[in-house]
Amino acid sequence: MKKTFLYLIIFSILFFCATTHAELMHATVELKDRAVVIGAEEQIIEEIKEWAGSKKGISIEQFSDEIQKRYGDRVDLESFSTAGFAQLTFDLKVSVHIREGILSGKLPPIEGLSFQDASSVLTLFGYKAVKLEDFNSYSVQEKVKVFVDARGPVMVLSGTGAFDTVMVYTTVDEKDR
């Protein structure tokens, strides 16, 4: 009986450890030629931000080497290829009614679909779809993260019920392509 109880406690502890993990936070650090999205525990992020603040001129290679040395795999780094964070703007490239976009050949057939299905179709063509209300609620850092994930234009879908408008947001780099 005692043995079973002991096993139960051990399993509970193991289960608790397996399911509980520190929640990753995201923050953006501005370097000389890049904006870097850091995903890590809050405390680590604070340390990195403090350290990076004192070394503004550091390059991305030096930055990632230093982070790797200090924290190993506990930090996710995604660098964003832009000249500087100040220049990273979310330009509205085109805002088009969905029917108009399809009839002009600019959008794939996504009319009448739910957000989930439309998102699947857009993913098929390498686009990332975001709901307008989500996009508007994102902080700048989260928007950077969306663009980093998308690796290209981001399609922001809006509308009541079934969405009816698609806004294609790009970064400066994408727009110049």
Partner: protein, 230 residues
Amino acid sequence: MKRADKINLSVLVVLCVILSSAFAFAETRNITEENKKALANVVETMQQTEMMRVSRGRLKSNPVIYPFHTIYQNLIQNQNYLIKNHTESYANALSRLLIVREDFLPDAVSGKGKIILDYYKRELIRQYDLAPQFETVKTLLETNDVLERSRAGLDAIPIRARLAFDARRWAFVCFGSEELPEQFESRLDSLMREWKPAKDVFEVEESISELSLAYSELFVEISGEKGIGK
């Protein structure tokens, strides 16, 4: 007459027959005139039928008109105006179809794209030609419906063409090749021919939304097959 001369003569006769039959088949149709006559005939016939019907078998000099009075009056008195509007719809649809061709170059002029464009041009003629569509009408109201459906059908053809070309454009991106898979091509082909007849702007909107959704669902299926989404 020598044998060689006889052969030459028979060849000449055969050529003449072929040539005359070719000219006979190549006779130009004036569909606008045909439409005008067909409308006049059908209205006259239906007018008689309606009079018989509404007066319980007795012919009267003035037909008894029910709530569709305006439609009846329009059909009886404004046939030239109706045909003019119908012809304008055809002309508009044709010019819009040519713009579609320009917008979807080079797809619209090569291979299957050219076949699609030719299909929609034939579909324009089919929608424009009223005589076959009048064959089944039984009342003046139905005659008016045929006219409305024909005009709405003409207006919708360039939009249907755009939906078809848009789907093809993105399908090429999706499959990344010059040729589309046969199964997918046949699905596109059946969607191209799909059209729920509509007789006013609201029904046209409904039909186009349904068609557009059908194209969208086809792409959802492809994304599913490629392991994206569902």
